[in-house]
């Protein structure tokens, strides 16, 4: 992954960048499988590596395939992103250890989901049960967000085509 990111940062050929970000997504999916988050890994592989690579390629088809050189040296944005990244890393130091059973997240509603899910919902995959049943409102919101994104793309691109035709 580190090598992929390094080449990603160095490359100026956008085709290489698109393909490499797909590769990075696949690595990420493998990491997620290793962390036992199979549902998320599946989403990462299909959306991150599959669909978004195709959409990027579609966008690449519409523009030039080489990145333009920067007008100025981007020191201020670089410093900003380094500062934000350092803050986030500092924040993770306060988080509980990975797979720590005493972490606050495992104390609140998770025991109920894991222990009583079988009697209440009866679906072997707890992720599905939480997603569709316990957190049904959230998933409805998510679906609406996807729908809104689609409508947004349709309205934006369609209007431009009409303007060009007239």
């Amino acid at each position: 992954m580190v090598v992929t990111v390094w080449v990603l940062g160095r490359s100026r050929n956008l085709f290489v960048v698109v393909v490499l970000s797909g590769v990075y997504s696949f690595f990420m999916a493998t990491v997620l499988v290793a962390m036992d988050a199979v549902d998320v890994a599946m989403t990462e592989a299909s959306v991150g590596a599959g669909i978004s690579t195709v959409l990027f390629l579609g966008a690449l088809y519409l523009c030039k395939s080489r990145e333009a050189h920067a007008m100025r040296r981007p020191w201020l944005p670089l410093g900003m992103s380094l500062a934000v990244g350092a803050t986030l890393v500092y924040g993770t130091l306060g988080l509980p250890e990975f797979s720590d059973a005493q972490a606050p997240i495992h104390q609140h509603v998770v025991p109920r989901y894991l222990n009583e899910e079988k009697d209440e919902v009866g679906v072997p995959n707890v992720v599905t049960a939480v997603l569709a049943s316990y957190r049904g409102y959230d998933t409805l919101g998510e679906t609406t967000v996807v729908f809104t994104a689609g409508v947004g793309v349709v309205t934006l691109l369609r209007r431009r085509r009409r303007a060009r035709a007239s």
Partner: protein, 141 residues
């Protein structure tokens, strides 16, 4: 890529399995990993694959634009409709217990329809975005 025999042949061989896998992910989401979101994306990916190999016009015949556009809205409506069905049967919004006389069966039924809604919207939106992008003319270099 339309004239490449190997690609056409491989696509023809692979697409049924991709579709089958999408259905598996959809309906087996209760037991293994997966669910509506992943299945919708895989379904859209199958059609996009077809469009890449056989051209956009052929893909439009398989998944016509009005169908794709209405899928976007129908999925959300199915999801919201499950909630309304719960209301009509005397529960709270998005309560699945009331959908069947056995609460656990009701949960199963609710989750099933909710996942169908998610898959419909997701695949519709993904396909529509792909169509919109692929449809535009190339900028002259």
């Amino acid at each position: 890529m339309r004239d490449d025999l190997l690609l056409r042949w491989a696509a023809k061989l692979l697409i049924p399995f991709i579709l089958l896998f999408a259905l598996y992910v959809q309906f087996h989401g209760d037991f293994g990993p997966g669910g509506g979101f992943q299945a919708g994306v895989i379904l859209a990916a199958a059609v996009i694959f077809y469009a890449l190999i056989y051209g956009l016009a052929d893909a439009r015949k398989v998944a016509p634009e009005p169908l794709v556009e209405s899928m976007m809205a129908i999925g959300v409506l199915i999801y919201a409709g499950v909630g309304v069905a719960g209301l009509l049967l005397g529960g709270n919004y998005l309560d699945y217990f009331v959908l069947d006389h056995d609460p656990v069966h009701g949960q199963h039924r609710g989750i099933f329809w909710v996942e169908v809604g998610v898959a419909t919207t997701v695949s519709g939106v993904m396909l529509k975005i792909f169509y919109m992008f692929a449809d535009r003319g190339r900028v002259d270099e």
